[in-house]
Amino acid sequence: MIVTTPKPLDELLDFLSPYTNILIAGCDGCTQPPRGLREAKTLSQLLELGGKLRNKNFTFKVTTVAKQCDNYLAASILRPQINGVEAVLSLACGIGTQTLAEIFPELPVFPAQNTHFMGAEEREAGILEERCVGCGDCLLAVTGGICPVARCSKGLLNGACGGSKEGKCELDPEKDCAWILIYERLKKMGKLELLKEFRPPRDYQLSGWRVTP
């Protein structure tokens, strides 16, 4: 999932202050918790209360889209609702927000969220952690399903480095050393010989900006 956090409300109020009729578009897609219909509604309520305190009366429409990053899907859902709307506030990640900006070139589209990374949730602890950087050359097959590019602070491909201490990273003692995790996992799988293979430096060209599906 793509991990986002809400922007402060005063920042949003600053964006929106020139406009009155606003569409808040939720996204049911990949965030956790999903910023869908409920968050769109909650945000509209908060902004309305915040607007009143600034002597500003907004009129909100709230809706949600299964995946805002799908321009075809987003356009079919949102276009019929756009009549009279002066600005769009997107609850999606940066991708969804950009998609809406493309769909509605004549309208200002604002992000309601800050987008952080591609990650996963530790549900019991309620923590989200980065798991993938989109490097374009997936190594998970040989690293026991644990990504050193995303999870090693130094992005090492032939770890661990000398700074690993009691399984933790020297740069952040809270963080597990990804290479120790890889070692333990491969050991459990009986595939430690995979570690003997040298991996050449990453080809940064692979994390390019366009691919054909």
């Binding site: 402060p8 005063d10 918790p33 869908g36 409920r38 909650t42 915040g50 549900r123």
Partner: protein, 724 residues
């Protein structure tokens, strides 16, 4: 139109997977199937006003009475439910017995005036034996409209209850309960009636017009001492008596209060009755030693069978216990008892689990005394059964285990201890079973159809906080060596606190206490809009009851047998795909609108969990305070809090149970989490002071008053600043 009373009737909940009846484990353990969870929930929600509370307790008593008219007696001698309580292995079982005792204390005065059942008009039925089994059968039959007569050999009813020492079961309770039962159920009693040889036959009863007969004559015959199948010599000596006879005579008042003063009394036996005898002898002034075959370690297969409380109590009272000793010979002098010869018992039960004691006769001790009380069990008196042809060729009572009808004589039903020695409540269950069979028999219906039921026990919910079990308080030894009860009962407050410890493990529909108390019109269902569902799984993750499961390939399904109707799933659903019956979003919105228009400025709205603060539900609040009661704080949605502020409410207070007291396990905690998160966002626009979350201890409305007063001052300060 279904009446409120009908809606409050418990329903049988069948587990979807196993097809079994799904119940809390205590209720399955209770031979009479008392609605234990329901009465605990009702006690937990007792009103604060003493008079209303007293009426409510009588209502609870009426409900228990319906299934068990002997419950005041059970509240002194039973406790089978506690053995299966889910809490047992955590911090100790919920003390149901003491809770029922409190209910009984309030109920007994009312019982004297309780209106009788309608006079029975159907066929005559005879019950032979006036113990718990017979009384119960008579009551059930009378409820069904049959005219019942109990025939009892002794000069009083009660059967085995008459052998229980008064310090454990007060006489006046036995008398009051039995006399009221006879009056209420129009039961005719014939005392001193002998059956068999010197008395009546079944044929006589038939000719007297009895159309069916239930026989529950118990086990009145004390077992004599034996060693390897042979009777132990010396039982005829002066001073050797059966403990059971002592118990009966003491209860009848036929024994001088200091009978055993200065005497050394030996009690043989390791069961609860032996301890009754030992503690009775101690109360009669004796210096008591108890000798038993079994060893001290209760967890061993040969461990002493008496309850821990009995062993502890007896030891405190100065009774010495000699473990792992049999009795080979009773030795006397001049015809009087002097001592017993006790070889070491090496094994009590054989490999098949049968009682088959083995002793090492080379390892012998002698225990000296003046009196020997033999209390090693009781047996039925089968002569009458033999004469009437009720035994099979092996000499056993020949009955169908499901219906209790004798296989040889239709219309004759047999149950209770005579069938198999057990607890009083088990004999009472036989009475209920026999009554049902007799009804079917007299109506010419199939006796066994649809009666075999299997039960599935409900587990503890997740996220449970365990509170310690209250200690039982006994009078100090020097004050309790008499026949007055020495166990201190609960006060009302203690009882309510203990009832609140009940986890209500069973499904809502098998309890419905909240419906009976009119907190809600019925157990709400969760309505699921599959079209809106986005498969995020939040509801599955947050549900404290594991009632929501993923469906393959998409969507979720709700198992309403497990649902406790807290509404947490509704509040956490990001797609607003869930609704809760009776607490729909729109309905709550309407209540908010009403509160916003009816309250005075500055307007305060309280969302209150009905479980924590319900007892004072009807209390009046200040004119600027509106209150919305919710099934659990978990049902509070950010949507409604913000809506209230939008509609002109100046401050919103959420009153939840303390986390460890939450009736819905994680409900209070999750409500707090979401309110705190909302508070952080409100602080970004300067409205953080308009929202307050607090916990209120159950039955302490003054805590809510205090929180409300502080909050009111805060909101008023903001309001006066704004108005300026």
């Amino acid at each position: 139109m279904v009446s409120q009373k009908d809606r409050a009737q418990v329903e049988e909940v069948i587990d979807e997977v196993s097809g079994k009846v799904y119940l809390p484990p205590c209720q399955i353990a209770c031979p009479l199937g008392e609605d234990i969870q329901r009465s605990h929930a009702m006690l937990a929600l007792l009103r604060l006003e003493p008079e209303e509370a007293a009426n409510q307790i009588i209502e609870i008593g009426n409900e228990i009475y319906e299934k068990n008219p002997l419950f005041p007696i059970c509240s002194y001698i039973c406790g089978l439910c506690e053995k299966e309580c889910n809490y047992k292995d955590e911090t100790g079982a919920v003390r149901r017995k003491m809770l029922v005792r409190l209910i009984a204390e309030h109920y007994l005065p009312y019982l004297e005036t309780k209106p009788p059942l309608p006079a029975p008009t159907k066929e005559k039925v005879a019950v032979i034996g006036g113990g718990p089994g017979g009384l119960m059968c008579a009551y059930e039959l009378s409820k069904m409209g049959y005219q019942v007569s109990i025939l009892e050999r002794n000069p009083e009813l009660g059967g085995a209850l008459q052998y229980i020492p008064r310090y454990r079961l007060p006489q006046e309770i036995v008398n009051s309960v039995i006399n009221s039962l006879l009056r209420i159920a129009h039961i005719e009693v014939k005392l001193g009636v002998q059956m068999g040889d010197s008395g009546k036959t079944l044929k006589d009863l038939k000719s007297e017009g009895y159309r069916a007969i239930f026989i529950a004559t118990g086990t009145p015959v004390p077992r004599p001492l034996t060693m390897e199948g042979e009777l132990v010599k010396g039982a005829e000596l002066e001073g050797v008596i059966f403990g059971l006879n002592l118990l009966y005579e003491v209860n009848q008042g036929n024994v001088p209060p200091r009978l055993y003063k200065g005497k050394r009394v030996i009690v043989v036996g390791g069961g609860n009755v032996a301890f009754d005898v030992a503690r009775t002898a101690r109360r009669l002034g004796g210096d008591v030693t108890l000798v038993c075959l079994e060893c001290e370690d209760k967890s061993s297969k040969d461990g002493i069978p008496a309850d821990v409380e009995e062993i502890e109590g007896a030891t405190e009272e100065g009774i010495k216990i000699v473990y792992s000793r049999g009795v080979e010979e009773i030795i006397g002098e001049d015809g009087k008892f002097r001592k017993i010869k006790c070889p070491r018992c090496t094994s009590v039960f054989d490999e098949d689990g049968r009682f088959n004691p083995k002793c090492d006769r080379s390892d012998v001790i002698y225990v000296e005394g003046d009196v020997l009380l033999v209390t090693i069990g009781q047996a039925p008196e089968l002569a009458f059964y033999r004469q009437e042809g009720l035994l099979n060729e092996r000499g056993r009572i020949d009955i169908d285990q499901l219906t209790l009808m004798n296989n040889l004589k239709p219309g004759v039903f047999i149950g209770g201890d005579v069938k198999r020695v057990g607890f009083a409540a088990e004999a009472m269950r036989d009475g209920v079973i026999a009554a049902e069979s007799i009804d079917r028999y007299l109506k010419g219906k199939e006796l066994g159809v649809g009666r075999k039921k299997e039960y599935e026990s409900a587990p503890i919910l997740k996220g449970t906080h365990y509170k310690p079990q209250p200690e039982l308080v006994w009078a100090p030894v020097e004050e309790r060596l008499n026949f007055e009860p020495f166990e201190q009962g609960f006060t009302l407050e203690q009882a309510v606190a203990e009832a609140r410890r009940c986890l209500c493990c069973g499904p809502c529909k098998s309890c419905k206490a909240c419906v009976a108390l009119e907190f809600q019109p019925e157990i709400p269902e969760i309505k699921y809009n599959e079209e809106l569902c986005i498969d995020c799984g939040n509801c599955v993750f947050y549900c404290p009851c594991d009632a929501i499961k993923f469906k393959s390939p998409r969507g979720v399904r709700f198992d309403m047998t497990l649902c406790r109707a807290c509404g947490l799933c509704v509040a956490v659903c990001p797609a607003m795909a869930l609704e809760m019956e009776n607490w729909e979003r729109e309905h709550i919105s309407a209540l908010i609108t009403k509160a916003a228009s009816e309250t005075e400025k500055p307007k305060i709205l309280v969302f209150r969990c009905q479980w924590t603060v319900l007892p004072p539900l009807d209390r009046k609040f200040a004119p600027n305070v509106g209150v919305i009661d919710l099934p659990c704080a978990a049902r509070v949605e950010t949507f409604h809090i913000l809506e209230a502020l939008q509609k002109g409410i100046d401050g919103v207070l959420i009153a939840a149970c303390p986390e460890e007291d939450c009736h819905r396990q994680t409900g209070s905690k999750e409500a707090q989490r979401s309110v705190v998160a909302l508070g952080e966002r409100l602080s970004q626009i300067g409205l953080q002071d308009r929202l307050h979350f607090c916990t209120v201890a159950p039955r302490h409305p003054e805590e809510l008053d205090r929180e409300l007063e502080q909050f009111r001052q805060r909101i008023e300060a903001i309001y006066s600043k704004e108005s300026r």
